[in-house]
Amino acid sequence: MRSPYEGLPSNRFWKSAVPEQRPFAVAGLYTKRFEIRRTDRIATAGSCFAQHIGRNLRKRGFNVIDAEPREPGLPAEIAARYGYGLFSARYGNVYTARQLHQLAGEAFETFSPANAVWQRGDRFFDAMRPGVEPDGLETETLVRLHRQRHLKKVASVLRQAEIFVFTFGLTEAWTDMRTGTVYPTAPGTIAGDFDPHIHEFRNFAVAEVLNDFVAFRSLIKAQNPAVKFLLTVSPVPLAATASDAHVLIANTYSKSVLRAVAGELYAMFDDVDYFPAYEIVATSVSKGAFFEKDMRSVSQAGVETVMRAFFRAHNPGPVQTNERPNGSEAPDDADEVVCEDILLDAFAR
């Protein structure tokens, strides 16, 4: 009698692939689908965990696009408060696939958000990235001017990227129910006012997340046919849920949806790769060792383990100084990631 499991490699069996492995170096977990060369123009976007990926790529001398660079000499942690150096442009954290689709739509002028300027006191904020200006701007007009210029930079990023790295973060979002515009944070968290007659909670399903990313892919491919995608799912659990479920249940739903979509996209498109940062940090192989005491923040060891696994597969060798953009030194990126959703802890009882 023959079994279809006969002769499969050891990484197909739980006993040999998980409990017998060291969490710091799980063998055979990831096989890259395509090369990422140090010279490839890489764009990064996604939830706050994606900031780790961009930062580590830059440290290794990869050519990560920075369309809105910080002023030379300005400390990285200060620039990060203003959204500089976190991603390939100052779009802040892009938590949902809908938000990513909207961003590309705005950049290529196929989408215009509703109620795009929020207020806090006498200051005005870009509702589509309220975290990148901690004190807001002086006028609504200025917010719109800043956004126009930012979107040109976003378009240039999307047109020139050879590899687009995206980390799926959330399925939950707040929308303008009249137009469907999705915001990165709930109105009233950083700025704006929550109005139950206007704002509506959404928890996206697999089909919606999938469709959003497919639509995003089509938009960018129309401008940049050669671009490839590297997807990850953030292992960072939800800070809070607006659903009526326990946050643990809501988190499992959210991550399950995102992981399923990433798998679907991998199966659908040859230009999509999936890197298992989520599996390394958040599944039983790590025995919870890669979370801090709050059981939510990913520890430095966790980040390092993820990146080691990544660079084992994508390893173009030691960086030469002349391989860095403009022959520059290794960047002094901010150590801390910037996460708006941590603000929700302030509302916890």
């Binding site: 809105e68 002023e71 000499g73 300005l74 400390p75 200060i78 620039a79 203003y82 200006e133 901690p134 004190d135 701007l137 002086e138 006028t139 200025l142 001017l145 800043h146 210029r149």
Partner: protein
């Protein structure tokens, strides 16, 4: 009271000022250690001393101090760090690269940034100035640390708006041109606000960052012509016509009196 002035080319203004007011302050001893800005790259604060690291710096200190090639800060009650990259002057080229707030000029290539971010850049720039670096090094250097005050570079002369500047170095010309352009568009006050924000941030309670007397300033960012005509610098005496960076002896007198009166408490 013993006071040590350490400064770049603006030190000449202070020296002229001191020469004029010294008879009124008979209980004050003043020393000067100066060098032009490019030479100050070869000067360090080590173990409570101002140490020249090049022969040019050494010779300049000997010339300005009347024979000494280094300053021992514990010999003084008060150290004045004059200019040394700390001033609006060090921020002017930001107007070439950025626009912020409600500025009027929308011509040319520039990055649009928030006022808050621009002020952070200004703080970072001035934090890296020689004046702040020396202040920090002096404070770290020993048990008996004198008071250390910073006196900023004077605002450029308002004559820059009506006359051709003599400053020919790329950076100086660039900065003066940026200021002229800002004034043309009525954007100059936003530069003054950026400097004020940075100065305020960097003023510690025990180490004062002084302010240029208000009555010498016009439109927030210019020194009035009467304090710059006949200006003097370390490199040449008097400064060439069209020097809009250095001030004259009258300004120096005001500056020194301001410092001495504040020191007297």
């Amino acid at each position: 009271m013993r006071i040590c002035f350490v400064g770049n080319s603006h030190l000449a203004t202070a020296k002229f000022g001191w020469d004029a007011v010294a008879p009124d302050y008979r209980n004050v001893e003043v020393s000067f250690f100066g060098a032009i800005a490019t030479v100050f790259a070869d000067v360090a604060v080590e173990d409570g001393k101002l140490v020249p690291k090049s022969d040019a710096a050494k010779q300049s200190f000997i010339r300005t101090s009347g024979g000494r090639d280094s300053a021992i800060f514990t010999d003084y009650d008060l150290v004045i760090l004059l200019a040394l990259d700390f001033g609006l002057w060090n921020l002017l080229d930001l107007y070439d690269k950025y626009r912020w707030g409600d500025q009027n000029n929308t011509e040319g290539e520039y990055e649009l940034v928030s006022t808050g971010y621009l002020h952070e850049i200004a703080k970072a720039r001035l934090t890296r100035s020689t004046a702040i670096r020396f202040r920090n090094d002096i404070r770290k250097s020993g048990a008996r640390v004198p008071k250390v005050w910073i006196y900023p570079e004077p605002m450029p002369s308002q004559s820059v708006l009506t006359e051709a500047p003599a400053q020919k170095s790329d950076l100086s010309a660039l900065r003066l041109e940026a200021l002229r352009r800002a004034a043309h568009w009525h954007d100059e006050r936003s530069l003054g606000t950026a400097f004020a924000a940075a100065r305020s941030f960097l003023s510690a309670a025990e180490d004062i960052v002084l302010e240029q007397p208000a009555h010498t300033i016009t439109a927030d960012v210019f020194t009035q012509r009467e304090f710059s005509d006949g200006s003097i610098g370390l490199a040449s005496l008097p400064s060439p016509r069209g020097d809009f960076v250095h001030m004259n002896g009258r300004f120096g007198e005001l500056m020194v009196r301001q410092i001495l009166n504040l020191a007297a408490g």
